[in-house]
């Protein structure tokens, strides 16, 4: 506690002061009755800028975009009742992708809790299973302890969202503050077990066909460089989860790109042959493993993760190491001998040649893959790539040349349609010097299209590439492949004019379908600062291939032939 002259402050003023002391300079949210004292205090803050979303879920994903780009805890706010329930999806999304958030919600006054008061909902109860931790603040004094602690919890260990529910009377009541608590920061985790690291190094040295399997934890830990160094030193071909894309540049000779349901054929076939799997900050998600019993069936497993509950959850590790993956890799590196491993690297290269990722139409900007590559050609590696959820997301994961950690923002675990546009806005707010591109679909964009107004208001430098096939692509694909081609509720009968809609919501728009030279039109759109919607019609019959049917082994891919 730092000593200062006593001040008499309301809970709302204390909350804002604690956010300022935390170093927060940008918050996003949506006001309402039960959080008005905090908004009143926030309005008086000269240090914190508030970005008004147009829906609380938008605010939650804007905060996620900020956190995913910066790696720092981001803050979003909403009122009680529907404000809080609208935030929940973004909070659940942050939980599954381990994104550090502090969500502050207003609550009805304490005396009215449990009376079915206007805009009362059990925010605390609703948020238990989707937060890392949550608080219902029962006194103004408690704010001094709870708020720094919430930041420390969100940032420490495996990051995640923390919710603070603050009743209106707790916000309004004034107390004397004699001393301020230290801001809450990430606490250092316990060091990795040296014996286990030595054992892991021994397994890597002895392995004939090892693979490195990187997950989102590598990005969160800032350990991508270390992972690449380990791969290079020991010649470990490397696969990445959807969350880890960018950890190793996709054109690195050892990169096998994304594994799993929509991974490249050679990637899943290499996994099928490996004799050692080194999982780092990954959690053996079902979209990555396919049928677990058939995932890397001959492999021993080294599993390094900061969350002890992830070890042995899906696959039993021969060597399990609970640690910050950066710390573990730093100490593992000198223990692992250099090894050219020529026959295995040659074998993997042969698989790459024989079983490539099908990328039809790569040179045609009017096709899905061609459009993604044409967008990439307009940008350098400083650009940030956000996606929504659906076919466009998987095509971007397969074809966009991702080369940098925190370059790629996507809803992995929860798979939330509507993530893309607000997350891209948050990214642009957190990194205003960068261009943010958001690949979205005609289904996803409608789930948070109101945030185009926020983008216009903020002048956010987001270029939204709308791949419009007039269907819910992944549903259409599954119905076509697995439900006897009975297309139901997946083809839109009515479709807005997205170009006109974007303009009506205040942002520039261009229709590539009408452009004589789509590449030139794209370059024009990217050259102009500020938000822009780029509309491109694509073929509804195109599938995301290869595809491992749900529940099947990863070696059994549909559409693996180029």
């Amino acid at each position: 506690m730092s000593e200062t002259p006593n001040e008499t402050l309301t809970g709302a003023q204390i909350t804002v002061r604690l956010l300022e002391r935390q170093g927060v300079r940008l918050v996003t949210g949506y006001p309402g009755g039960a959080i008005l004292p905090i908004y009143d205090a926030l309005g008086q803050s000269t240090a914190i800028r508030h970005v008004l979303a147009r829906h609380e879920q938008g605010a939650g994903f804007i905060a996620q975009g900020m956190a995913r780009v910066s790696g720092e805890v981001a803050v979003c706010m909403a009122s009680s009742g529907p404000g809080a329930t609208n935030l929940l999806t973004a909070i659940a999304d942050a939980k599954l992708d381990s994104i550090p958030l502090v969500a502050i919600t207003g609550q009805v006054p304490k005396a009215m809790i449990g009376t079915d008061a206007f805009q009362e909902v059990d925010t605390y109860g609703l948020s238990i299973p989707i937060t890392k931790h949550n608080f219902l603040v029962s006194s103004t004094e408690e704010l001094l302890e709870v708020i720094p602690r919430a930041f420390a919890i969100a940032a420490s260990g495996r990051p995640g969202p923390v919710l603070i529910d603050i009743p209106k009377d707790v916000q309004s009541r004034a107390i004397e503050v004699a001393a301020w608590p230290e801001p809450g920061h990430r606490s250092a985790p316990a060091a990795a077990d040296g014996m286990a690291l030595a054992e892991a190094a021994g397994l890597i040295a002895a392995a004939k066909k090892p693979l490195l399997y990187l997950g989102g934890g590598v990005i969160h830990a800032g350990a991508a460089d270390l992972a690449v160094k380990l791969a290079e030193k020991a010649n470990l071909p490397t696969v990445m989860t959807l969350m880890a894309l960018g950890a190793m540049p996709v054109d690195h000779p050892l990169s096998l790109g994304m594994l799993g349901m929509h991974g490249a054929p050679y990637t899943n076939l290499a996994l099928d042959e490996c004799d050692l799997l080194i999982a780092v900050g990954a959690r053996f998600d079902d979209r990555a493993t396919g049928k677990v019993a058939a995932f890397c069936p001959q492999a021993r497993i080294i599993h390094i993760d900061i969350d002890a509950a992830e070890l042995d959850k899906i696959k039993t590790a021969h060597v399990g190491i609970v640690a910050d993956v950066g710390e573990a890799l730093t100490r593992l590196l000198p223990l692992v001998p250099e090894n050219p491993r020529k026959s295995w690297v040659d074998r993997v290269d042969a698989l790459k040649t024989a079983h490539p990722q099908p990328l039809p139409g790569l040179d045609d900007p009017r096709s899905h893959f061609g459009l993604i590559r044409a967008v990439a050609a307009c940008l350098d590696d400083d650009a940030i790539v956000a996606t929504d959820v659906g076919q466009h997301q998987m095509w971007a994961a397969q074809a966009y040349p991702l080369r940098r950690p925190r370059q790629w923002l996507t809803s992995g675990g929860l798979g939330t349609m509507g993530f893309g546009v607000p997350a891209a806005i948050g990214a642009a707010l957190a990194a205003p010097e960068r261009t943010v591109v958001c690949f979205t679909g005609d289904g996803s964009i409608l789930m948070n299209i109101q945030e185009l107004v926020t983008a216009a208001e903020q002048g956010a430098n987001v270029k939204i590439v709308l791949m419009n096939n007039a269907v819910l692509g992944l549903v259409h694909q599954q119905q076509t492949l697995f439900y006897g081609q009975r297309l139901f509720a997946s083809e839109f009968q009515a479709m807005p004019d997205f170009v006109t809609t974007a303009r009506a919501l205040g942002i520039a728009a261009v229709d590539l379908d009408q452009a004589a030279n789509p590449c030139a039109a794209l370059a024009d759109a990217f050259a102009r600062p500020g938000p822009c919607l780029i509309h491109a019609g694509i073929d509804a019959e195109q599938k995301v291939y290869p595809m491992v049917p749900p529940g099947a082994a990863n070696r059994d891919m549909i559409g693996a032939q180029a």
Partner: protein, 103 residues
Amino acid sequence: MNASNRNENQALARAVLEIDVANHPGVMSHVVGLFSRRAYNVEGILCLPVGDGRQSRIWLLVGEDQRLPQMIRQLEKLEDVGAVRRHHAEHAVFTQLEAFFRP
């Protein structure tokens, strides 16, 4: 199968968990929610404050199946949980209460 055999089998298939937690209104919900959302039945619950009342101890009688080690790890992850200790089903904490639960 006679009654004593049945009881033995039940005993084999159960475990008792002793959990040190912070004492506040939401902590039971956090702990029990881990089980309910996995459709994992909790057969018995006991909870009382310990010492100065800032901490409580929760005793759970649960079915013993292959998910139990993962459940213990999930419990240990909760911010409000200090420690989790696993005991056999015959632990006195529940057997001594049998008199209160006769049909």
